[in-house]
């Protein structure tokens, strides 16, 4: 095994494009970090593309045993999964600190949608799913009309129902050859429009000033 690694590294050291591959990995990691901070899927997509190029470059350069390469690649994937796991734990703690309140007025909606909806003790405007529960902030509830809240909850419900197991999702994302958008916003919008009405969803998105509003509006209206 050690011989294989030795061969691998000498291969890289002798290669003229080794440093390009190293640079691509750094870029991919930076883009991945930006994605974790901004949650904008195109960063993840770019990160996946750059990683895919780095992997292909690795294959192209390899003139000796492939075993070491495969082990290193698996090592990178497991390391990244541990990192994402840590991000997940940090996020859990963050949500606990937001003091979730079980609001009376959301109980009816929770029962209707078949998914627990919790209220976040913050004036900030937030709505997301985590561990198969939906969270909406007091700020969001204040801003939207009841029908629009249903539209937002229905959008999140789609994510609850259709996001694969979190660890599997992380694995697929990190494995880097899964060139799909991290979250299927279009389908979630379609589901919400059907459940709560197009107009309610569009007015909710307008009030929330979501990213890519015009594109989403057109898609919902179509």
């Amino acid at each position: 095994m050690f011989e294989a690694f030795e061969c691998y590294f000498s291969c890289l050291a002798r290669s003229e494009t080794g440093y390009i591959m190293f640079g691509m990995i750094i870029i991919a990691l930076s883009l991945g970090t930006i994605f974790l901070l901004t949650k904008k899927s195109h960063h993840m997509f770019l990160s996946q593309m750059v990683t895919a190029f780095a992997v292909m470059e690795g294959f192209r350069q390899m003139t000796c045993s492939m075993a070491a390469y495969v082990w290193i690649y698996l090592g990178i994937i497991s390391g990244a999964m541990v990192f994402l796991g840590m991000v997940n734990v940090a996020f859990d703690r963050h949500i606990r600190n937001l003091e979730i309140m079980d609001a009376q007025f959301l109980r009816g909606l929770s029962a209707e949608l078949g998914c627990r909806i919790y209220l976040l003790d913050t004036q900030k405007i937030k709505a997301f799913t985590h561990k198969r529960k939906i969270y909406v902030s007091v700020g969001l509830v204040e801003l939207l009309e009841p029908e629009e809240i249903i539209a937002v909850a229905a959008h999140e419900l789609y994510h609850v129902k259709h996001t694969p197991n979190r660890y599997m999702a992380n694995f697929l994302a990190v494995a880097s050859l899964w060139l799909r958008s991290y979250r299927d916003e279009a389908k979630a919008d379609g589901f919400a429009a059907e459940l709560a009405g197009r107009d309610n969803l569009i007015t909710a998105l307008k009030k929330l000033k979501v990213a890519g509003l015009k594109k989403r509006e057109k898609r919902i209206a179509a």
């Binding site: 609001a103 007025f105 913050t122 004036q123 900030k124 405007i125 007091v138 509830v141 204040e142 009841p146």
Partner: protein, 119 residues
């Protein structure tokens, strides 16, 4: 309460101890006593709702502003109230700063403060 690290004696007025947005919201709350976030947004037109929301969360976290959740059948909303009057805030800040100065410089500070005592 006010963080020592945020005190900037070169700013003007309350901005020495709070951010400009925090000051605007605090002054509104002292004037009107209780307000919702949309009331505040109505009075401060040049700031976005998201900015006001972030500032309100910060003020609540630091304990300067209190909020109460009002729940009706189909809605919830926060009612904001100042936790202290302007005078109480002034007292608290003065005490903390003076204690810190005495802690560092001892009797010199109390002697200096004597000069400011009302006749």
């Amino acid at each position: 309460m006010v963080k020592f690290s945020r005190i900037n004696i070169e700013s003007d007025g309350l901005e020495k101890f709070f951010s400009p947005n925090e000051v605007r919201i605090l002054q509104l709350l002292w004037e009107k006593e209780s307000m919702t976030s949309s009331d505040i947004n109505g009075c401060i037109n040049d700031l976005s709702l998201a900015c006001i929301a972030g500032t309100l969360d910060r003020l609540v976290k630091s304990g300067v502003v209190k909020r109460e959740l009002l729940e009706s059948e189909s809605k919830v909303k926060y009612i904001y109230r100042p936790a202290y009057t302007k005078e109480e805030i002034g007292n608290q800040i003065s005490e903390r700063i003076i204690e810190s100065l005495i802690d560092t410089f001892g009797d010199t500070v109390t002697e200096t403060l004597g000069k400011y005592k009302k006749e």
